[in-house]
Symmetry: C2
Subunit: 254 residues, 2 copies
DNA sequence: CGAACTGTTGAATAAGGTCAAACCAGGTGG
DNA sequence: CCACCTGGTTTGACCTTATTCAACAGTTCG
């Protein structure tokens, strides 16, 4: 079941934006929910103070587009709450999702003048945003921030290359296994452990991430279920019953 | 016909390393062939001076491995001459090439302690190398360099994501068309224009970059040839006869 | 010349895609 | 409360694309 666009953060925002409208308000970095895992970790207390001054929180409703490829880069920021998909399109509508962004993840490129991907909210989103113009200046003045952004960029590059291996060389079965384990990993970074995996995206979005069709994804879910490796709690949650065997499948060692 | 491992750079290296052996010697940045297009562009004259002091030129023979995934990162550097492939492997030997590096391209990650890809020389290589330990320090002391590395990382990320779109969603025909146009593009950055495209890699390596098999790549070459879009001069060179139509195929608009 | 490669082409096969129908849960409204 | 609709999902039957397997052609090199 998909989350409804309820008040996303009662503490910060008693009068929440109704009807999925976007609203901005100043950010309080000291009490940030993703303080420990976002790029801001790299900053000193006074630097964080400065950041607070220019950061604003923005909300996006499920299905809302944050930005489009070719758009002038207007903002960068950090996901506080919710899940975002970033994707590329071909002229005839074929879609490839290039990343799912979870709380703590950085959104947008701090160096490129225009966006190169589309970004869309899969759930109600709380986003900590800096104007693009400010980022250039911040980077110059906060070497810690720049160093962290460089490290994050290389982590993202490595992940993208892992995904090239998946898209170019793995079978449908291996792709789904890899995907489920990636979600487990991503969740554990956010401190969420245990066998249950939340799937904020639907089958079509999983397909567009794995380079498959909806039907093939569904069939592979059924196959893993029949083999007893996972339990499909509902269409948006699975439990990993045999992580080791799933990992073997993911790496082609099964 | 593949280039033989002859003396790769007579001017700098009169007594070239015989039998494909690696040899190191100090670098002269002022006369560097890729000065204009490498990361070093960002540096001031005194900075370049400092860089000269610690950079060394190393040579690799065709087929030689520069580094392996999981290896501790020993070096980063810039390609001066030749072509390198970087790739990921699955346990059973399936290979996905994640990039071809040409003169001016940066090799290795300045932030990661271990390599995440394999790198192998496709032709004799001349490489301008800095010890990994020095890079950390250099970045701290040369903000221009760090800013440029951040920009390069994001360009690479964008390219990787374009390739995810190719691997996940394009047909064999579209993949080969995209690949040929990428080579044209890369060559034009190095100042090489005109319809002729050099292919330093063999069919197997093209296949491993495009997520296809050798046979499919060969068939698609034949098909583009029959359609009059390209001329296959020999197995390592093609001429683009109809760039516009090739671009339409590459983007799925044909 | 013949061996070893690399590349091309053809025929058979399989993995995943397409098309179509059934299923299922959650909401809506009588 | 229940019938009905709706969207996402699952499953089945069939088809297409690219892979696999195999034979053959060009080159290079000993």
């Amino acid at each position: 079941m998909k989350l409804v666009a309820a008040n996303p953060c009662p503490r910060h925002e008693p009068g929440a934006p109704p009807h999925g409208l976007t609203k901005a308000l100043p950010q309080d970095c000291a009490h940030c929910a993703v303080r420990e895992i976002a790029v801001c970790t790299a900053l000193s207390a006074p630097e964080l103070e400065r950041l607070s001054a220019i950061a604003v929180t923005r909300y996006f409703a499920t299905g809302e587009t944050l930005f489009r490829a070719e758009d002038a880069a207007a903002m960068v920021g950090t996901v506080i709450r919710g899940t975002i998909k970033t994707y590329k399109l071909l002229a005839d509508g074929r879609q490839q999702i290039v990343g799912f962004l979870f709380p703590g993840d950085f959104v947008g490129s701090p160096t490129q003048e225009t966006h190169h991907v589309f970004a869309e909210a899969l759930t109600p989103i709380e986003l900590c945003v800096f104007p693009f113009s400010a980022v250039q200046r911040l980077i110059r003045e906060m070497p810690n921030l720049e160093r962290r952004l460089l490290a994050v960029a290389h982590e993202d590059l490595d992940l993208a290359q892992d995904w090239m291996l998946l898209l170019g060389r793995k079978t449908a079965q291996e792709r789904l296994a890899t995907f489920l384990l990636l979600l487990v990993n991503k969740a554990s970074i956010r401190g969420i452990h245990g066998g249950a995996v939340e799937l904020p995206m639907n089958r079509g979005e999983i397909a567009d991430y794995l380079g498959l069709t909806i039907e093939t994804v569904s069939r592979q879910f059924s196959k893993l279920k029949r083999a007893g490796l996972i339990r499909v709690d509902d269409s948006h949650a699975v439990t990993i019953k045999q992580p080791d065997r799933l990992a073997e499948i993911a790496e082609g060692t099964a």
